[in-house]
Amino acid sequence: MDKLYFEDFLPGEIVEYGDTPVTADAIVAFAREFDPQPFHLDAQAARESMAGELIASGWHTAAMLMRMSCDAFLNRSASQGGPGVEELAWSKPVRPGDRLHVRRTTLSARASRSRPAIGLVEFLFEVLNQNTDVVMTQKNSVFFLRRAAEEAAS
């Protein structure tokens, strides 16, 4: 497939991608390294906690979204990373046995005035589980090279 540039992201476009199975081992491995709280580490301790069951760290869900986006489109794009995330909301728990996928809506696309080689695309990412419950939403922008600039350089 052709490489994706700034011009290829059209506001209003909605695409779905990804299929990430969530295992207890993966939840615990991420939590041990980055978020060692009882409800992310141990099923028994989780039952006695506010969560009531073992659930994934919200940062883990964000990392799984990133991986699905890399695999689905970022790694065949002219992405130059992003400046940050406007909003990240964890609306439902992510549990062992869940399967996650992504619905991506392109919200806006604007060329940079100061840097003519790049443009900024704003996305809404919704992470859904196998029951199509939205477990996380994330609104953020990504820099992409512009096709014209890349062609002029080559």
């Binding site: 978020d35 709280q37 790694n75 130059q80 990373g81 940050g84 406007e86 990240l88 790049i118």
Partner: protein, 159 residues
């Protein structure tokens, strides 16, 4: 020092929660697992990118901030328990706003993380309040690399 119970928080209260060195190995291992973009994996690709060199995934710097906060809070809980004080139940995070990756984190950088209490509000559930904190990460040259505001449930002392 950041409080453990909701009622003991004060707007503006802040703490330096810890520091972490980002090694090349850890940057690449995180990127392989969660963010395999070329500029997080490979020196040449990093040099050719807008970042100008290999740099850590922003999710890596944010996740290490979470780890640093958990370790800091755990040390406070252990100290409180040793003094015979009651410990609150742990609450879940609700979300994050205004997460900024301000400048790239490169191999060998040491990031010092801090938090400051930014907001407090009660919820309909009498046992939980919501505390908003601003978290920041600064590199060894004093340059800010990361900041975000998070909202999390914090247990109330109760009656």
């Amino acid at each position: 020092m950041i409080a453990l119970f909701y009622e003991d928080h004060r707007i503006g209260q802040s703490a330096r929660i810890g520091a972490h060195e980002f090694t090349r190995e850890a940057i690449i291992a995180f990127a392989r697992a969660y963010d395999p973009q070329p500029f997080h994996l490979d020196d040449a690709a990093g040099a050719a990118s807008l970042f100008g060199s290999l740099c850590a995934s922003g999710w890596h710097t944010a996740s290490v901030c979470m780890r640093t906060l958990i370790d800091f809070r755990e040390a406070q809980r252990v100290a409180a328990a040793a003094r015979g004080k009651p410990l609150p139940a742990l609450g879940l995070g609700a979300g994050v706003r205004d997460l900024r990756w301000i400048s790239p984190v490169r191999p060998g950088d040491v990031i010092t993380y801090s938090v400051q209490v930014e907001s407090m509000r009660e919820t309909r559930r009498p046992q939980w309040g919501i505390v908003g904190i601003r978290a920041t990460g600064v590199d060894q040259n004093g340059r800010e690399v990361l900041s975000y505001t998070s909202q999390a449930l914090v247990a109330r002392r109760g009656q």
